[in-house]
C-alpha cells in the first residue's frame, strides 16, 4: 500500500509523520433557470503528508501515484524539511494506538445509485416558482489516516448536498440547502418548497430605515454568524489575533450553549478521529453563555497548558460539527412584537477580528415583523454590528434546528432560528 510505503520511508527520518489518503467519486448537476446547465463527474485521489523534523513543520500533498513520483516526493520532502527553521511552539502529536467508536449514519450505498435527474426535476416542480437555480452533488469517499504515532484508521462515507435558490423576480428570492450522508434524510422536495415559499413571500420588497432592530435569524443566516464563533474558538486563530474570543475564557458572553460534536450520527462533519488520529468527542465551547475552552490539537493544547479537544486539522485546530443547543419554543413563539426576519446572509467580513466588528448582507427573503407576525418584505439592508454584542443580545432560541453547509458556511453548523435584540441595521446613503 502506498500509505504504508510512505510512512515506512519517512518515520525513521523525521520525528512525527501523518499520512492521510482519500479517494472520492462524485457527480454534480448544476441547474439554472429550471434547466440543467452542466453535469460533472470526477474521481480524485489525494495523499497529504504532515511531517515534523526537529520542530520544523511541513506539509505536502501528492496527486500522482506512480512509484517514481512517490520516491521523488519523499526525497524532496526530506531535503525541504531540513532546510526549514524550527517552529518553537510545536509540541508534538498525540501518541496512539487509540480505540474508535464507529459513528452510524455516515454511509448509504443507495445514495450513490439514486436517479439524480429525477431528484432535480422533482425539486424544481416542488419549488413551484418562476425559475430556480442550484446544484446537486453526490459523493462517495474512502479515506485512511496512518501515522508514526501508531494510528491507523479508515473511513467510508457518502454525502449528498443540494442547494436551491428560487426566484419570483430579481428581488424576490428564497434560498435553502440540505446535506446528508444518507438518502432517507435528504428531502430535496421539502427543501425546494421552503425556498419557493420564501421567494413568493418576498415579492414587492420596500426600503426601510436604518437603526436598531430586534432580528430573528433563520438557520441559513444564523449559521453564518455562529461559524465565526466556531472559527474564533480555534486556538490557532486566538494566537493569531484573528479571534474575538481571545482572553475570554471563563467570561460570560451570552445565554446560549454552543458545542462542537463530531460524534453526531448522520452528521455531515461527523468523524471518529481528528487529523492526529485522536478519537473525537463532544466539546462544549460555550456553556450557558460562559466560554469554557478553545479548540485544540495536541500542540496548541500544550502551549495553552490544557488537553487536546481532538479538533486537529492537519495544520490548525478546527470545528467539525458546530451545534447551537435548541430552545423549547417554536419559531413563531420567538418572533418579537416588532423587528426584522432575515432568512439568509452572505459576504460576512470583519473590520477587526479581535474586537469582533463586522458586517454581513442579508439576501433572499428579508421581512419586517409586525405584531409578532412576519409581514412586509424589505430590501437593501446590512447587519453592521459586533459579534460580542450579537452573542450578548441573543435572547431567544427556537427548536427548529437545521444543519447548514453552504457556500457561505464552509463547515457544518446546526442551529435553530434565534432572536437577537437591538441589532444595528445600516443602509446605503447615496
Amino acid at each position: 500500500m502506498i500509505e504504508e510505503d510512505i510512512l515506512k520511508k519517512l518515520k525513521n527520518e523525521v520525528d512525527d509523520v501523518i499520512v492521510m489518503s482519500g479517494e472520492s467519486n462524485s457527480s454534480h448537476i448544476k441547474f439554472v433557470n429550471n434547466k440543467i446547465a452542466k453535469t460533472g463527474t470526477e474521481i480524485l485521489k489525494n495523499i497529504s503528508i504532515f511531517a515534523v523534523w526537529k520542530k520544523r513543520v511541513m506539509f505536502t500533498s501528492l496527486k500522482d501515484f506512480d512509484q517514481n513520483t512517490i520516491d521523488k516526493t519523499i526525497n524532496n520532502l526530506l531535503k525541504f524539511i531540513k532546510s526549514l527553521q524550527p517552529k518553537e511552539d510545536y509540541y508534538g502529536i498525540a501518541k496512539g494506538p487509540f480505540k474508535y467508536k464507529d459513528i452510524p449514519g455516515l454511509y448509504d450505498k443507495s445514495l450513490i445509485h439514486v436517479n439524480q435527474i429525477d431528484l432535480v426535476e422533482k425539486a424544481i416542480n416542488a419549488a413551484d416558482v418562476k425559475r430556480c437555480s442550484g446544484d446537486l452533488i453526490l459523493s462517495e469517499s474512502n479515506s485512511r489516516l496512518i501515522g508514526s504515532n501508531n494510528v491507523d484508521t479508515s473511513t467510508k462515507e457518502t454525502n449528498a448536498h443540494f442547494s436551491i435558490r428560487c426566484f419570483m423576480d430579481k428581488e424576490a428570492t428564497g434560498h435553502q440547502v440540505i446535506s446528508s450522508p444518507t438518502l432517507k434524510n435528504f428531502d430535496v422536495e421539502k427543501t425546494a418548497r421552503i425556498a419557493g415559499e420564501i421567494a413568493k413571500m418576498a415579492r414587492n420588497p420596500i426600503e426601510t430605515v436604518s437603526g436598531k432592530y430586534d432580528v430573528v435569524f433563520h438557520p441559513m443566516a444564523g449559521a453564518a454568524l455562529l461559524e465565526t464563533i466556531g472559527s474564533s474558538a480555534s486556538a490557532f486563530n486566538v494566537s493569531s489575533k484573528m479571534s474575538f474570543l481571545e482572553n475570554k475564557i471563563g467570561k460570560k458572553l451570552g445565554n446560549f450553549t454552543l458545542v462542537d460534536n463530531p460524534t453526531i450520527p448522520g452528521g455531515i462533519g461527523s468523524m471518529k478521529q481528528d487529523s492526529e488520529g485522536v478519537p473525537t468527542n463532544k466539546t462544549t465551547i460555550i456553556d450557558k453563555g460562559t466560554l469554557k475552552t478553545y479548540l485544540h490539537n495536541t500542540s496548541t493544547a500544550k502551549k495553552f497548558k490544557t488537553k487536546t479537544t481532538a479538533n486537529a486539522g492537519l495544520i490548525t485546530p478546527e470545528f467539525f460539527n458546530l451545534v447551537l443547543e435548541p430552545g423549547k419554543n417554536s419559531f413563531k413563539k420567538i418572533l418579537p412584537d416588532k423587528g426584522i426576519y432575515i432568512t439568509n446572509v452572505w459576504y460576512t467580513r470583519f473590520n477587526n477580528y479581535s474586537t469582533g466588528d463586522f458586517s454581513t448582507i442579508p439576501r433572499d427573503g428579508i421581512f419586517l415583523i409586525k405584531n409578532g407576525e412576519i409581514s412586509q418584505p424589505i430590501k437593501n439592508i446590512r447587519v453592521s454590528d459586533n459579534m460580542l454584542n450579537i452573542m450578548k443580545n441573543m435572547s431567544q432560541i427556537a427548536n427548529d434546528s437545521q444543519q447548514i453547509l453552504s457556500w457561505e458556511v464552509g463547515s457544518p453548523v446546526t442551529t435553530p432560528s434565534f432572536l437577537v435584540k437591538s441589532v444595528n441595521i445600516t443602509k446605503p446613503t447615496n
Binding site: 460533472g40 501528492l62 496527486k63 432535480v120 460576512t348 473590520n351
Partner: protein
Amino acid sequence: MIQEDLADFSVNYALKLGAKYAEVRLEQHKGTSFLLKNGIPEVSGFDDTLGMGVRFLVKDTLGFVSINNLQKELTKDLIKKAFKLTEDSYKLTEKTKLTKEDVIKTKYEVKQKIKLENISPEEKLKFLKGIDKETKQAVGRFYSLSDDVMHKYYVNSEGAKITQIIPRTNFFYYITVNNKADSLQRFLQHGNVGGWESVKAWNLSEKIKDEIKAMLRNLKEGKKLKPGKYDVVVAPEVTAIMTHEAVGHPTEADRILGREGAQAGESFVTKDMLNKKLGSELLTVADDPTIPGSNGFFLYDDEGVKARRKLLMKDGKINEFLHNRETAAEMGTKSNGSSRANDYDKETIVRMSNTFVLPGKTKEEEMIKEIKNGVYIKNFMEWNIDDKRFHQKYVGCESYSIVNGELGKPIRNPALEITTPGLWSSVDAVGKNIAHFSGTCGKGEPMQGIPVWFGGPSLRLKNIVFK
C-alpha cells in the same frame, strides 16, 4: 510529465462516444508555500499536482469530467460514465450552444528573470523573517509567501492546441496594531506573474512599516467622522476594490443570464443596459488579461480564445460584458476570452482578469485642494456588496479628514455605504495616478478562487452622506 497524448486521446474518445464538441485541460502545478506567524515558521510545504478536466457537449448539454489518476482505461470509463449522466439530462437541458471562435495553435512561456526553483526554502523563509524583524511594532504579524508554476495544455475538437507556462508569486499579510486595549487590523495581498524578481520589487518591509506608523497614529489621534455630507477622495486601493465589485462583477454575462444565481448571485445589470449610462462620463473601465507581469495575466482563456482588453464601461456607459463561448452564444455575440477555471477539476466560467479605471486628467493633490470639508480614504479593511452588486460598503482603514484643501487628522473607520449608480454618478474627478492591487476572486460552485488584479487612479466622489 504532461501527458498530452492522453489529452488528445480523451478529445477523440468523447467525439467517438457522440460528442458534438470536446476539449481537455491538462494542468500541472508546482509550487511552495511558507507561513510565518509572529516570527515563528508555522508551516511550510511544496505541491506538485497534475490532473485533467474534460468538457464535452452532447445532446446540447455540457458534461465535465475531472480525474487525477491519469490512466487511459480509468479515463475512458469515467468519460463513458459522465456521458450517460449528461445524456440522461437531456429532458431537462437548457440546450447549450457555444460560439465559433478562431482555432489557435500556439505555445508560450512567461520568462522568469530569477527562477523560483533556484530560490531555496531557506531563502524564502529568510525573506519572511526579514520582514518580520522590521515590523515588530505590530503585535500580530501573519505573513504568507507562495509561488506556483502552472503548465497547462489545452486541446479541443476544433483543432486548437495551446500550451501555456505561467509562474506566479503571492504574498499575503495580516497585521494587528495595538494602543493599550484599542486595536486596528489590516491585510493586503501582493501577486504577480513572473519569477522571484517580482517578490523583490514589492518592497514589503518599507510598505508595512509605513502602514504600521499610520495605524499607530490613527489609534492615538483618530476620531470618528461626524455624520454629514462630505466630498471624498479615495486612493487607488479603494478605487480598485470598487471597480472589481461594482463594475467587473455586474458586467459578467453569466451573472446577467442567471447562471451563477444559486450562489455567487446575479446582477442588477440586464442585457438591455448595454450602452446605458451607469456613472460619470469621466469613467472608463477596462478588463485586460494581457498586461505582462499582472496577477490576472493570460494570453488564451480556458476555452482556447485569445485574450484581449475589454472596455466594460466607456465614458460612463456600460460598454461590453465579460463573455465565455456559452454566454456569448446566448447573447448573439463573440467570446471576449474571459473563461477561466482555477484548476483542472473545476468548470471554466466567466471571470475577470485585471480590472481597472483608466487614469484621468486630475492630480490627486488638486482634487484634495478643491475640498473644504472632506474625507480622504487611502485604504480599507472591511468591505462587502450584495449579490446583485447594487449596494456596497467600504470601511476606511488609513483615512484622514480634508480641511480647507489639506489633509487633517486621522479618521477612524469611515464607512462608505452606497449604491452602485450612486457611487459611479458621484465621481467628479479622476486622477492621473494609477496603481494595481492583487486579489483572489471567489465565484462558482464549488467555489473557485482565481488570481486577479484590480486597480485605478484616485477618484473624487461628491456629496457622500456618512451616518
